[in-house]
């Protein structure tokens, strides 16, 4: 061998791996460390892109687990509106490593959750998941009760799953200056009231992101010795930035840091892996084909292509049969749901019909008729 590049496979060379291929034929972007099969118990959390993972897994009959499915019998629409089944527990989006770390501390240790609530027009919103309850909770007590279920679900998910998929979304966040606790969104946007004296902006740097993710992984691995963590980075650009930069450069800054954190973690942790959905959607090789006109929303075909690569690369690595995409649109990951209306309006049996007839005939017998 005259030099190290001489015998490398073609996917290590830009010309053969990218330039000479149709973008949709670019393959082998992921070299998975761990097998994920249909029996693997998978949970998902993180930024909004993570929900696509869950849908794709369910559509292919993988074992995606919902640890907080809500009451039995909810319709798909009710589940969606109340944020059941979006992720494996009802946290709503977890955008930052710090938020994930916070949730895990509250769920897996004895550390108390701050009792701060946001009030608006007599309704109460959870600062750490303000969007999960349309219209808010009726009281702080109800909010706390609901949150306790979510914390229990997170703990059960970490302890009961084989693979925890986490999609990192943002580095920017808003915190309570006194306690340091991080909010899910800026106070005053979805709910709450912004107070510059109380609330502060933070744009986490690499070291802070690494520290939070490392601590989060440590908590999870302690709770479950078999757990694997699959990291992804959301390809969805920032809606807005408070960093003072242009939103486009702020997006690059944020995503670059998260992407670097993912690689660093994979280097350091044998039980962590990174799946490059971010690259598949955002890389110039794909020429923005998977973005909608606003250059932000990811199109369904983009999600589908990402997930095809996921299953194809798994098959390539472990010799499994590649899982074909579903023919029908992905169903919501709901348990067996019986529409409430069906429960409320039963079909009449023959005997019941007969009794109904008798009642009417008795009332409207010919000698009584004048209605």
């Amino acid at each position: 061998m005259s030099h190290p590049y001489e015998d490398l496979p073609e996917d290590r060379f830009w010309r053969t791996a990218v330039a000479e291929r149709d973008a949709l034929e670019i393959a082998g972007l992921w070299k998975p460390r761990h097998e994920i099969g249909r029996r693997t118990r998978i949970v998902t959390a993180g930024s909004c892109f993570a929900q696509h993972f869950a849908k794709a897994l369910v559509a292919r009959r993988y074992r995606w687990l919902d640890y907080e499915p809500g009451p039995a019998g909810l319709t798909a629409e009710q589940r969606k509106d109340y944020h059941y089944g979006t992720f494996s527990f009802r946290t709503g989006n977890i955008y930052t490593p710090r938020m994930l770390h916070q949730w895990l501390i509250w769920a897996l240790t004895d550390s108390p959750v701050p009792d701060e609530v946001w009030e608006k027009d007599g309704r109460f919103f959870d600062p750490f998941r303000p969007g999960v309850e349309p219209g808010g909770f009726v009281s702080p007590e109800e909010l706390y009760a609901s949150r306790r279920e979510t914390l229990a679900a997170i703990a059960a998910a970490v302890r009961g799953s084989h693979v925890f998929v986490f999609t990192m979304g943002l580095t920017e966040a808003w915190v309570n200056k006194a306690s340091g606790v991080e909010y899910a969104v800026c106070p005053g946007t979805v709910a709450g009231r912004f107070d510059a004296e109380v609330h502060g902006f933070v744009n986490h740097g690499f070291a802070a992101l690494m520290a939070d993710m490392t601590a989060a992984l440590r908590l999870m691995f302690r709770a479950n010795r078999r757990l694997l963590v699959l990291l992804t980075v959301s390809p969805v650009p920032l809606t807005a930035t408070a960093s003072g930069s242009h939103v486009l450069t702020a997006t690059s800054h944020s995503k670059s840091l998260l992407r670097a954190v993912a690689s660093e973690l994979v280097q350091a942790q044998s039980r962590a892996d990174y799946f490059p959905s971010y690259e598949i959607i955002t890389h110039p090789a794909y020429r923005g084909r998977f973005f909608a006109k606003n250059q932000r929303s990811v199109l369904a075909e983009g999600v589908e292509h990402v997930m095809e690569q996921f299953f194809r690369d798994q098959a390539a690595a472990f010799g499994n049969e590649a899982v074909p995409p579903p023919e029908a649109p992905s169903p919501a990951p709901a348990p067996e749901a019986v529409p409430e209306a069906e429960l409320a309006e039963p079909e009449l049996t023959e005997a019941e019909e007969l009794r109904c007839e008798e009642e009417i005939l008795a009332a409207f017998a010919p000698d009584q008729r004048h209605g």
Partner: protein
């Protein structure tokens, strides 16, 4: 405003029979109104639709069945032909809806008040009979009242087979709230919901055997109720109906005020 008594129609499935029986047996004064009945067994309700301002059977057989029990032989029910329409029973069930929610509340997982409200509202609006009532109300012509199917006939023994102690403990607080949610939901749709009157309720969510049809145990008929029950419902409605002016055909009515609860007599939870 037109001359003459208000035109009042009672529309329903077999549950409207007890109102007719109350009238025939003279248990309630129905004077001062122009009263008509239009209805048939619940099984025929799947062949009804609301279209062009009227409830219409989708086939001739169903049309004839409904016409048979109407003094004028009506094959359709146009809302504009009446000043008040009472939708009685009409396959609008609340008992199972309430029990399902009570079970969820006692067995978990957690159900927020907001979700409870949503479940009740969706369950009400999802019922075919309710959609017919909503269609009538949306015409803005007749005032529409709705009396859902009463609780099943029961007693302490029967209650024990359906209600756990935890459910029994919740009923006094929660069931009145459920009714309020249904009333508010109905009011949003222009319908005045009539709660089941308190004096007819036993064990929290059963109808007193005094209002059962004759021989209900032998017939295993825990669903239908007798003329006395019809009289309780009708008497609450009649005072209100008499005050409604006979509408000129061109007039429309305003949506009901407040939460749409039974003004004539609040239910058992008032």
């Amino acid at each position: 405003m037109a001359e003459g008594p208000p035109r009042f129609c009672i529309f329903g499935d077999s549950h409207y029979a007890c109102l007719k029986q109350a009238e025939v047996q003279g248990l309630v004064d129905v004077s001062g109104v122009d009263l008509e009945y239009w209805g048939h067994v619940g099984g025929r309700f799947r062949y009804l639709e609301f279209r062009d301002g009227a409830i219409r059977p989708v086939d001739d057989f169903t049309a004839m069945r409904f016409a048979k029990f109407n003094a004028k032989g009506r094959t359709t029910l146009p809302a504009a032909d009446f000043d008040v329409i009472l939708v009685m029973g009409a396959r609008v069930y609340v008992w199972r809806m309430f029990l399902s929610l009570l079970r969820a509340l006692t067995e978990g997982p957690f159900v927020s008040r907001g979700l409870q409200r949503r479940l009740l509202a969706d369950a009400l609006r999802g019922q075919s009979g309710y959609r017919l009532a909503r269609g009538l109300a949306e015409t803005g012509t007749a005032q529409v009242l709705l009396a859902p199917i009463a609780y099943y006939t029961g007693d302490a023994v029967r209650a024990a087979t359906f209600f756990t102690p935890a459910i029994e403990a919740l009923i006094p607080d929660r069931v009145p709230e459920f009714w309020s949610v249904l009333a508010e939901t109905a009011a949003e749709d222009g319908i005045r919901l009539l709660r089941q009157p308190e004096e007819t309720v036993v064990q929290g969510m059963f109808t007193d055997e005094a209002y059962a049809v004759a021989g209900h145990v032998a017939k295993k008929d825990y669903e239908h109720h007798n003329a006395a029950y019809g009289a309780v419902i009708l008497s609450r409605v009649m005072d209100m109906v008499r005050t409604v002016p006979r509408r000129d055909p061109a007039d429309r009515i305003a949506a009901p005020d407040g939460d749409g609860q039974d003004e004539a007599g609040r239910g058992h939870d008032a």
